[in-house]
Symmetry: C2
Subunit: 148 residues, 2 copies
DNA sequence: GAGACGAATGTTATATTGTAACCGCTGAGC
DNA sequence: GCTCAGCGGTTACAATATAACATTCGTCTC
């Protein structure tokens, strides 16, 4: 199979088969997937795929700003924003609200939050390259269901 | 050796030998340690210690608010504040500024940041239980040294 | 077109991080 | 003394991630 690099340069920046499959699996899942769950998805196309294939695809998707890694879960989730790929995390501060009950993840960007983070970094003579903010807790839906 | 639970209830909340050793190692290191590095330290006392010993000690220290886990490094660092143990991360927002050059970690708590995080959670009907904020980048020292 | 080269991907093996499950001691209560 | 619960030790293994090498494929040169 040839690269599909030439097929649609306008839709996205040249995803190969594994990368497209991984992104699709993440978008379809509705919850964060681990690297090995993504690997299972890749194996529907390429039954002999091994861990590095999944990790490479995920790394690429992250570099493109299409996917985020949730450090506190060792899992990956598709981005719902339009990040500036080169700038993921520095000027934007992306907050993930992770429900520990249902697994739902919401991605939030907030300018005041980002401003305050930049200011704190500056006060400490720190030059941020990337930032992760992960809030664990309970989402509204789960709070009203399991009320107690 | 008996538990030292009874020896000094006023200094700290009953650390056993492994816990005290782990905390000492983390404080002496000057940089975050992985669980297996802590395990190596424990083995100076108990040469046959196994991973669960280190993980249990670290879990206990984290529950007591004496140690933090850095999710983005899979590593552990001693707390430099006086956290309310039960409340680690909910009302306080602790930010870690991690230098990717020298490995130095600075722990920062900031009330405006915490306020903004609480507000964002509330707007999204989210009830936070714990929050991690980890900023990667370059500290002032490294920036002036390796200037280029 | 043949051959040399380099980038990307496939493949194997292994490193790192973390936990389940069971065992045995010890101390409290009876 | 006996029982039992809880803690910590121990074994074994699971889950996450990467190093290192082999192969493929496009491209450039001649
Ligand atoms: Zn995003
Ligand atoms: Zn929920
Ligand atoms: Zn702290
Ligand atoms: Zn530094």
């Amino acid at each position: 199979m040839p690269h599909d690099s030439h097929s649609k340069p306008q839709t996205g920046p040249a995803l190969n088969a594994a990368q497209a499959r991984a992104l699709g699996a993440l978008q379809a899942a509705g919850r964060p997937l681990t690297a090995y769950e993504v690997l299972d998805a890749l194996r529907e196309d390429q039954p002999r795929a091994a861990p590095p294939t999944a990790y490479r695809a995920l790394r690429r998707l992250i570099d493109l700003g299409l996917v985020h890694r949730l450090e506190s879960l060792n899992a990956y989730t598709p981005c719902v924003h339009e990040h500036d790929a080169a700038d993921a995390g520095a000027s934007q501060a992306t907050l993930f609200a992770i429900c520990d009950d249902c697994g739902n993840v919401r991605e939030i960007t907030d300018a005041p939050l980002a401003r305050r983070m930049r200011q704190l970094a500056e006060e400490g003579a720190f030059t941020p390259a990337s930032t992760i903010i992960e809030m664990h807790g309970r989402c509204g839906g789960c709070a009203s269901e399991g009320g107690a």
